[in-house]
């Protein structure tokens, strides 16, 4: 094969994936950026170029800032917790214990349940007076609380649902990584007299870094992407206490029909996720040891 033929061959192989990416990822992103510089067309009134006006509105929009800060809290609350729980669960069900298969299944179940159905069930867990949570706290004589109905607890209540939903999913990745680890390492450490904790800290955990990076990227994306339960459980309320960025974008775009402003908000979300991905790859990549 000549060089130019090889070159053509390579491009042809890349073409299907590139077409899909360009069509469904790159073109929409660019078109979205373009739309964010225009006003929203309404009825007979066409869209006009307004430059950065949508971004100026965004800067002055208190609900946007509220949604952004909610989202950052939400990410800070759900990402580390679900990763730690996933790791602990994976290490546990990796051991030879009785009922291991059942435990693995139990941990993974939340992941395969549809979020909308799950949110409806959790809605009744949190119901004041006779909800499951209330019945438990009641048995201990603790005071009543309206979990989803007060501004201070609504967002944490939703975070619990997310952690519950995500931890099992991440556990599967850790479990797969743990199983591919050579048993010689553990045997060698045992001969050297290393404690279990020391072995985990110095051997297992570093070897799991590639998985952690992968899980972290997914967790960050999900923290900004998963809003199904908000639609069911709080609709962003009370007074925007649980409004997350994507939910707010949906509201602006498909309830208020302000598609141009929604486009501007989407650009912010896109930039945010892009930055997060860059940071993760720049900092963590160096510390990650690939086998």
């Amino acid at each position: 094969m000549t060089r130019s033929k090889e070159w053509l061959y390579a491009w042809l192989l890349l073409l299907p994936a590139m077409t899909l990416l360009a069509l469904f990822t790159h073109y929409p992103a660019v078109a979205n950026l373009w739309h964010s510089f225009y006003s929203t067309p309404k009825g007979a009134r066409p869209a006009v170029f307004i430059g950065l006006e949508n971004y100026r509105t965004l800067f002055d929009d208190p609900i946007f800032w509220k949604a952004l800060s909610n989202n950052l809290w939400y990410a800070a609350g759900t990402i580390p917790l679900s990763i730690v729980i996933a790791l602990v669960m994976a290490v546990w069900v990796n051991d030879r214990i009785a009922g291991r298969g059942f435990l693995r299944l139990a941990y993974f179940t939340p992941t395969i349940l549809p979020m909308i159905a799950v949110a409806n069930i959790w809605l009744f867990f949190y119901t004041p007076e006779y909800g499951l949570l209330e019945q438990i706290t009641n048995a201990f004589g603790l005071p009543r609380h309206n979990w989803l109905g007060s501004q201070s607890t609504a967002l944490p209540a939703l975070m619990v649902v997310t952690v519950w939903k995500e931890a099992g999913f991440f556990m599967i990745f850790y479990l797969a990584a743990l199983q591919s680890m050579s048993p010689h390492l553990a045997e060698a450490a045992a001969i050297e007299g290393a404690s279990r904790w020391y072995f985990f800290r110095r051997v297992t955990f570093p070897l799991l870094m590639p998985t952690t990076l992968f899980v972290l990227v997914n967790a960050v994306i999900n923290a900004f992407r998963l809003v199904d339960h908000i639609v069911v459980m709080t609709r962003g309320g009370p007074d925007n206490a649980t409004a997350l960025l994507l939910y707010y974008i949906y509201e602006i775009g498909f309830r208020f029909w302000d598609s141009a402003y929604a486009a501007a908000l989407t650009m912010v979300l896109l930039a945010l996720l892009g930055l997060a991905a860059l940071a993760q790859f720049a900092f963590l990549e160096k510390r990650t040891h690939y086998q």
């Binding site: 007979a44 004041p128 309206n146 109905g149 009370p238 925007n240």
Partner: protein, 429 residues
């Protein structure tokens, strides 16, 4: 035997002839979106209507499309408008009227009202329902599945509290007093049964509107260009709601979920609840105790907002399609069908003469609670609806939830909501 054969042969002939005629005329296709917002076999009833109508009008082919909740339906309808292929007609919230007009998506019904018969038809609907269907001297929607808020109360709980089970509260003072008698606490002071519950999740504005109207004012003007969130009467109305929680302690704290409120009522966690008449069939089926239905209590007057869905006709349709759609809408809102629809669903039959039909009279005689919503209609006012409706409404919802969760005083919350709503309304002009 022979007769049966002949009859079958004749039937076959008739069907073939009908098919030929229909084919010759090429039936007018009318696509039609409808939501389902209450329990019950709604799709089955709609399909039944469609089949009966097509039998009587073989030249028209209806294509009903179930489109989810009201929110999903308006989303789908407006998306279809933007993509250039809207339905010919659709049932959407009556409050979507201004949004649909602003999007230049619908046509008024006036051009189809030509004969005195047509005019009589348009006048037959309750005026309270027409308030959300008309603006600028034109009729944009035809009431179909409409509702109001009523008070449901547990008669057994009333008896236990020493109250007359046939005397629901008639005014705000009584609702608070009865509520205090109905609120039960255990030895440690924990509430085991609340007096009253007014849901505040999702769309608190609708229930709050009941309080505001009772206090003498509605929240907006008829043109949909102004709102009155910070009028003293409105602030007072919110103060009363907050007082039910903080002062009288007869209403649960924080946000009360709309969806679980009927369940709270069935579980005897609350003795009185405010919710839609559309829940009547649900409560009738699930309340294990004797319950009553009453008009909302009065402050300066009785009052409730109307709610629910209207028929609209979309602009991008042929004249033949529009005529056919209007024909169906007239057909489905005849007194007999309006009555049957009301009985099957719990919605308020939309015209006075529907209540005079024998079926309805019999139904009301056996179940008087069904007539409460009708009796309340003379006091009912239009549901909150303005230009850029959903945003203007959200401003109020946020304010109400802020006051109910205690982060703002009623006055501050309503002043903020008013400022925000005015900003949005100014921008939408």
């Amino acid at each position: 035997m022979l007769f049966a054969q002949v009859r079958r042969w004749l039937a076959g002939f008739a069907a073939a002839a009908a098919a030929t005629i229909a084919f010759a005329q090429a039936p007018v296709e009318v696509s039609f979106y409808y939501p389902v917002a209450v329990g019950g076999p709604i799709t089955k009833i709609i399909d039944g209507f469609v089949a009966d109508f097509e039998k009587e009008n073989p030249a028209i082919k209806l294509k009903p499309v179930y489109t989810g909740s009201y929110q999903d339906s308006i989303t789908k309808a407006l998306t279809a408008v933007k993509s250039g292929e809207p339905p010919v007609t659709s049932i959407l919230l009556s409050t979507d009227m201004y949004s649909l007009i602003d999007e230049d998506a619908i046509v008024p019904f006036d051009e189809f009202v030509k004969t005195p018969d047509d005019q009589a038809w348009l006048k037959s609907f309750y005026p309270a329902f027409m308030e959300n269907s008309q603006t600028g001297g034109k009729t944009w929607g035809i009431p179909f599945q409409r509702s109001t808020i009523v008070l449901y109360y547990n008669k057994e709980a009333f008896k236990e509290a020493g109250l007359d089970p046939n005397k629901p509260p008639v005014n705000w003072k009584e609702m608070a007093e009865f509520g205090q008698k109905l609120t039960k606490r255990d030895a440690s002071g924990k509430v085991t049964q609340w007096g009253v519950q007014i849901p505040s999740s999702g769309f608190p504005y609708w229930l709050f509107q009941g309080l505001a109207i009772e206090n003498g004012v509605n929240l907006m003007n008829a043109a949909g260009t102004e709102v009155y969130y910070d009028k003293p009467e409105v602030i007072d109305a919110l103060q009363y709601w907050v007082d039910l929680v903080k002062k009288y302690k007869v209403h649960p704290e924080g946000i009360v979920e709309w969806g679980t409120t009927p369940k709270d009522f069935f579980e005897r966690k609350v003795a009185m609840m405010w919710t839609t008449t559309g829940n009547l069939t649900n409560v009738k089926a699930n309340a294990k105790f004797d319950f009553g239905v009453a008009m909302l209590p009065a402050s300066k007057q009785r009052g409730s907002p109307t709610g629910g869905g209207n028929f609209y006709i979309f602009k991008k349709s042929t004249p033949a399609q529009r005529e056919a759609a209007v024909k169906f809408i007239k057909w489905v809102t005849t007194p007999a069908r309006a009555a049957q629809w009301g009985i099957d669903t719990g919605y308020v039959a939309v015209r006075a003469d529907a209540w005079d039909t024998p079926v309805m009279k019999q139904y009301v005689a056996g179940f008087p609670a069904a007539a409460v919503a009708r009796d309340q209609l003379p006091y009912a006012k239009a549901e909150l609806s303005t230009h850029d409706n959903q945003r203007v409404t959200k401003a109020l919802n946020d304010g109400l939830q802020a006051a109910l969760t205690g982060t703002k005083t009623p006055e501050a919350a309503m002043k903020d909501a008013q400022r925000e709503a005015e900003r949005i309304l100014k921008a939408s002009k």
